[in-house]
């Protein structure tokens, strides 16, 4: 029991002395994770939509060439940033950008560390999201597109009004995953000196050697952040689904079976095709 009392007193001491540093670290972490996930989603949607633009034989040569090139560029981007460690991408961009800008401007130009961190995590998330969005779009029933085309919507209108909103809803759990992964994985940004929560922990234990008690505090803070995010994301999903029931204004006069229908969500009968 004594060991727990000691742990408790160490934790109390840590919080009393360095509580605000932990909070600052947590704030940097959450800010980076949220902003980069949002930016990553935007990148992902743009790339995912580009990759699912239909190509038809009747397109002009110009359109075909442009589309092929753009799709290839997106593909390379996705493969490179999904296929290499983020910690290495951070180093690559943090030192890579000045490497070229210095050569161009003649003097040493450093990339702002914060900017680099936001850039790397956004680009990395974007690469994952591009595949998620592409899969999400492909999983939408083609009947949705046909329904939209049949009332005269063009490709852009169909995407914006019908396909993307449904994709967005379907990939919300994946967006949540990415956010939570980012909350944790932004810790690798210590490599370029970005001080988020993990860097704070390292700094604190470097001075007082309370390795384990500080790890407990840091773990608890990470867990708190991820759980709160999970709860918020679930609430957003529920909001997107709308009310589970609807008001029936009067009775339906045409239906021969009387009463109202209320099918459990996501289990509505689909049509068979012949």
């Amino acid at each position: 029991m004594e060991v727990f009392q000691k742990l408790w007193s160490d934790i109390v001491k840590l919080i009393a002395e360095d509580g605000s540093r932990y909070l600052d670290g947590a704030w940097s972490t959450i800010l980076l994770a949220v902003v980069a996930t949002a930016a990553g989603c935007l990148i992902g949607f743009i790339c995912g939509v580009i990759q699912t633009i239909p190509q038809s034989k009747s397109d002009s040569v110009f359109k075909k060439v442009i589309l092929t090139v753009v799709k290839a560029v997106v593909r390379v981007y996705v493969e490179v940033f999904r296929g290499t460690p983020m910690i290495l991408q951070a180093v690559f961009i943090f030192y890579g950008v000045p490497y070229f800008t210095s050569a161009l401007s003649g003097g040493p130009v450093n990339l702002d560390m914060n900017l680099a961190a936001y850039l790397v995590v956004s680009i990395n998330t974007g690469a994952y999201m591009a595949e998620t969005v592409r899969g999400g779009i492909l999983s939408i029933d083609p009947g949705q597109t046909e329904g939209a085309q049949a009332i005269g919507m063009n490709h852009v209108q169909t995407m914006l009004n019908v396909i993307i909103p449904q994709t967005m809803r379907n990939i919300m759990p994946q967006i949540g995953n990415n956010l939570i992964i980012n909350i944790k994985d932004t810790s690798v940004m210590f490599i370029i000196g970005y001080t988020e929560l993990f860097a704070v922990h390292k700094g604190i234990v470097g001075a007082n050697y309370l390795y384990f008690p500080s790890a407990v505090v840091t773990m608890a803070v990470y867990l708190f952040m991820t759980v709160v995010c999970s709860v918020i994301l679930r609430a957003i999903e529920n909001k997107m689904d709308g009310p589970a029931n609807y008001d029936v204004k009067t009775t339906d006069t045409l239906a021969q079976t009387s009463g109202t229908y209320n099918f459990p969500s996501r289990k509505a009968k689909g049509g068979k095709r012949s």
Binding site: G143, G147, G152, Q166, D247, A255, T257, S265, K272
Partner: protein, 246 residues
């Protein structure tokens, strides 16, 4: 003869080597209710899908008010907004309520004002008896109700022709009636309709023109009395006999 809206001539469609439609010729006049009947796989759906360009015909012409719409891809969305389509599998937009389903095409494609679109949507939802359900999502209503919303969605675009592809085939038997009733009402009001159906009673009693398709060609066509009462081709006789025996 009333005004000719649509004329299909020498229309063919192949999927790879499989020639699904062969040299189809027929026309639709204003106010016509044409039923297309035929066995599964005979190309009925493909014909409808070619007419509103969900499939691109391999050759032939689709002449809409004297203009071949296959000449350029430019006017396709506009043409489609004049030719409504009701699908076997409803294809209502799952992310929208019943009311939104009937408004989105009007505001985005026809550029109607929201208030105007809502008024028109409500008018047609009332016509199909779905006014009580305007706030429901598609997953919350039955198949028959979905199909009636799909009809209202198509009507709200004020189309010149409505295409129906087996509108009752995915429905439980007790819901078939409510959809057919709406379709009959539309026919009585003079809507021009092209209906692929296995409901022989509808084809015989409601339509004024029946087309029997077999193996990608129009095997026989005529008034319901001609086709049902006195079929000329052996294939037509065999097909109809199968239905009588059911």
């Amino acid at each position: 003869m009333s005004e000719q809206i649509l004329k299909i001539s020498h229309l063919s469609k192949s999927f790879g080597k499989n020639e699904v439609l062969k040299d189809i010729d027929f026309s639709v006049n204003k106010g016509d209710v044409t039923s297309i009947i035929g066995a599964s796989g005979s190309g009925k759906s493909t014909l409808l899908r070619c007419i509103n360009l969900l499939e691109t015909p391999s050759s032939g012409e689709i002449i809409y008010h004297g203009k071949n719409i296959l000449e350029s891809t430019k006017g396709i969305p506009e043409y489609r907004s004049h030719v409504g389509m009701v699908f076997q599998s409803f294809n209502l937009f799952n992310n929208m309520t019943v009311l939104q389903n009937c408004m989105v095409g009007q505001t985005k494609v026809l550029k109607r004002k929201k208030s105007e679109a809502k008024e028109i949507a409500l008018k047609y939802l009332e016509k199909v008896g779905m006014l009580p359900y305007i706030d429901a999502k598609p997953r919350q209503i039955s198949g028959g109700q979905k199909q009636r919303v799909a009809i209202a969605r198509a009507l709200a675009m004020n189309p010149e022709i409505l295409l129906f592809d087996e509108p009752t085939s995915a429905l439980d038997p007790e819901m078939v009636g409510e959809v057919l009733q709406v379709m009959k009402q539309l026919a009585d009001e003079g809507m021009t309709m092209l209906v692929v159906t296995h409901e022989m009673a509808f084809a015989r009693d409601v339509s004024n023109h029946v087309v029997y398709m077999n193996d990608g060609i129009i095997c026989e066509e005529g008034t319901p009395d001609e086709v049902f009462g006195n079929p000329q081709k052996q294939e037509t006789k065999d097909f109809l006999a199968r239905f009588r025996n059911e």
